[in-house]
């Protein structure tokens, strides 16, 4: 391992110090989280800077670092303009329309919104959807693969070891530990990328040198990406509108204003980060074309290999720590959310009994361990993990988006039957859509998806798996409209006398 072609012993010392530092922070915070509200939503006292760090690092995992750079490596700037940035309108909407609605109502979790408005059954089903989405399978898989590619360690052992560190500090300190480690991880991932890409650019000879060796089409803003696919990528950004981790951070904010400002600042960070990842992918492609890097280099590993080649000893270790940070910040955040789904959103209403603060913290810790373990098992049970993650996100969005938005934006009638029918139609339509496109469609190797091509009334049509939300969301809304004719608004029972 220490004979790595691009890493020296200094880099391994830096990596070791980073991992020990994460554990140290978690242990320190362990002594300071006495209540469930402290453990899960940090006592609702997070200010803008820490919110920016935890938002930015949680949403930017290895999928962005490797997935987006791979797209840039193969297709050029369309990875930035046609893929990464189309969701920006959704983020603006989240910042301005959701922050105060979510923060002011003092919710604790996403399923609790559904429980308050539609009753316990709706909350429990919403909790299951949130739990399914939050299992950290993809991040654990990515971490393992990283260990395999960079350090030559078996992927399962690497994911177990490094993912285990994220698990331990999350158990020790809850959201405070997650947010403070996220902050350190945020600085690492941003600063190292900001140093690495200009250095790589200098090594390669800038974009003039890139333009000389890669196809001209790589500089076309939207490339040859189909318009419907662009809209589908925009639609994937919609998942943030029901992302339980995003909601948790708004609930944890000191005020709605701080949450909104954090979101706006995060957008600036994401913009710059996205471009540097895309630039890194294109520079790596040029490095391969000019023989600087091996022609056998897999496009998925291109950014990592190119950056390690460009950075001097010490900084390469810091960059790797930043890469580990992108995965660990996702694992810790979603393990915590999933743990709380099990304790607060599923056990509490199902047990139908008083649950003390102390018991909730204990059960949430147990839930974190269970969800982490299940995520780990899932990570090595599927071949196409990215497709599984897209499916997880589609299930959550198609089931809970409509009922949640009705709660937040509609003061009129909304019945429990409407919510349940919306869930049912959303979920069934996702499953039917996915299996139909996979059964009738053909795999598309360029975009790593399935496409179903057919002719109807003399016209040719193509349905991509990414188009799912175009079908499932209207059906979920239709279910809500029909169900809303039945029953009355949910009335929570009066609190029992103390």
């Amino acid at each position: 391992m220490l004979n790595h072609p691009y890493l020296s012993w200094i880099d391994f010392v830096v990596l070791g110090a980073y991992l020990l530092g994460m554990l140290g922070v978690g242990y320190y915070i362990k002594l300071k989280v006495p209540t469930f509200e402290e453990f899960l939503v940090a006592g609702r006292s997070m200010t803008t800077p820490i919110l920016v760090c935890t938002l930015a690092s949680t949403y930017y995992g290895l999928d962005v670092l490797f997935g987006t750079s791979e797209m840039a490596f193969n297709n050029g700037v369309v990875a930035f303009f046609g893929y990464s940035q189309l969701s920006i309108a959704v983020y603006f909407f989240a910042a301005f329309a959701l922050s105060h609605r979510l923060r002011d109502a003092e919710f604790t979790s996403l399923p609790e919104i559904l429980e308050r408005h539609y009753g316990p059954s709706a909350g429990i089903i919403g909790g299951c959807a949130s739990l399914f989405y939050s299992l950290p399978a993809l991040a654990l898989f990515g971490l393992g693969r990283l260990c395999e590619v960079v350090f030559g360690i078996d992927a399962r052992i690497g994911a177990l070891g490094l993912g285990g560190i994220a698990l331990v500090y999350t158990l020790w300190g809850g959201l405070w530990a997650v947010a403070i480690t996220d902050t350190i991880q945020f600085v690492l991932m941003c600063v190292t990328l900001a140093i690495a890409i200009p250095l790589l650019m200098g090594n390669i000879g800038g974009f003039d040198a890139v333009a000389a060796v890669i196809p001209a089409g790589h500089f076309s803003i939207f490339g040859d990406m189909p318009i419907w696919l662009m809209l589908a990528y925009t639609a994937t950004g919609i998942s943030i509108l029901v992302d339980p981790g995003f909601y948790q951070r708004i609930f944890a904010a000191k005020s709605a204003r701080q949450a909104r400002n954090a979101m706006l600042l995060s957008m600036l960070i994401w913009f710059a980060y996205d471009w540097l990842v895309v630039a890194g992918g294109m520079l790596a492609a040029a490095a391969v074309e000019t023989g600087v890097l091996s022609v056998d280099l897999h496009s998925n590993d291109a950014l990592l290999t190119a950056v390690m080649y460009a950075l001097p000893a010490g900084l390469a270790g810091l960059f790797l720590a930043g890469v580990l940070a992108t995965a660990m910040s996702t694992i810790d955040s979603y393990s915590l959310v999933a743990g709380a789904n099990l304790s607060y959103d599923l056990y509490r209403p199902l047990a139908k009994k008083q649950v003390s603060d102390k018991e909730l913290v204990r059960l949430t810790k147990l839930g974190i361990v269970l969800s982490w373990t299940f995520g780990y098992m899932l990570a090595y049970a599927f071949d196409k993990l990215m497709a599984l993650w897209v499916f997880q996100a589609t299930v959550l969005t198609s089931t809970v988006l409509v009922p949640i938005f009705v709660c937040l934006f509609w003061k009129g009638k909304k019945t429990p039957v409407a919510c349940l029918l919306s869930y049912a139609l959303g979920l069934v339509s996702v499953i039917v859509f996915y299996f139909t496109v996979k059964y009738f469609g053909e795999p598309n190797e360029v975009y790593g998806t399935y496409v179903w091509s057919f002719s109807l009334w003399g016209s040719d049509f193509e349905i991509w798996q990414e188009y799912s939300l175009f079908f499932t969301l209207p059906l979920s809304a239709l279910g809500f409209l029909i169900g809303n004719f039945f029953g009355t608004n949910y009335s929570p029972p009066a609190p029992e006398e103390a």
Binding site: K32, P49, V187, D208
Partner: protein, 58 residues
């Protein structure tokens, strides 16, 4: 300098400066967190809290 080079440099500066500035403000805000007096509203510490118990709403 190529326009894409310039765009890359601008984004590098934005990312590095934003991250360091935000970290500076985090350190300013976190004196309470790391100093142990994060939340005066949550004065009771230790495993057992005096807060009311949570129950399901059914």
């Amino acid at each position: 300098m190529n326009g894409w080079d310039l765009f890359t440099w601008i984004n590098s500066v934005i990312l590095a400066v934003s991250a360091i500035t935000i970290f500076f403000f985090f350190l300013r805000d976190s004196k309470g967190i790391l100093g142990g007096n994060r939340s005066d509203a949550d004065a009771p510490s230790g495993g057992d809290s005096d807060r009311p118990e949570r129950s399901d709403r059914s």
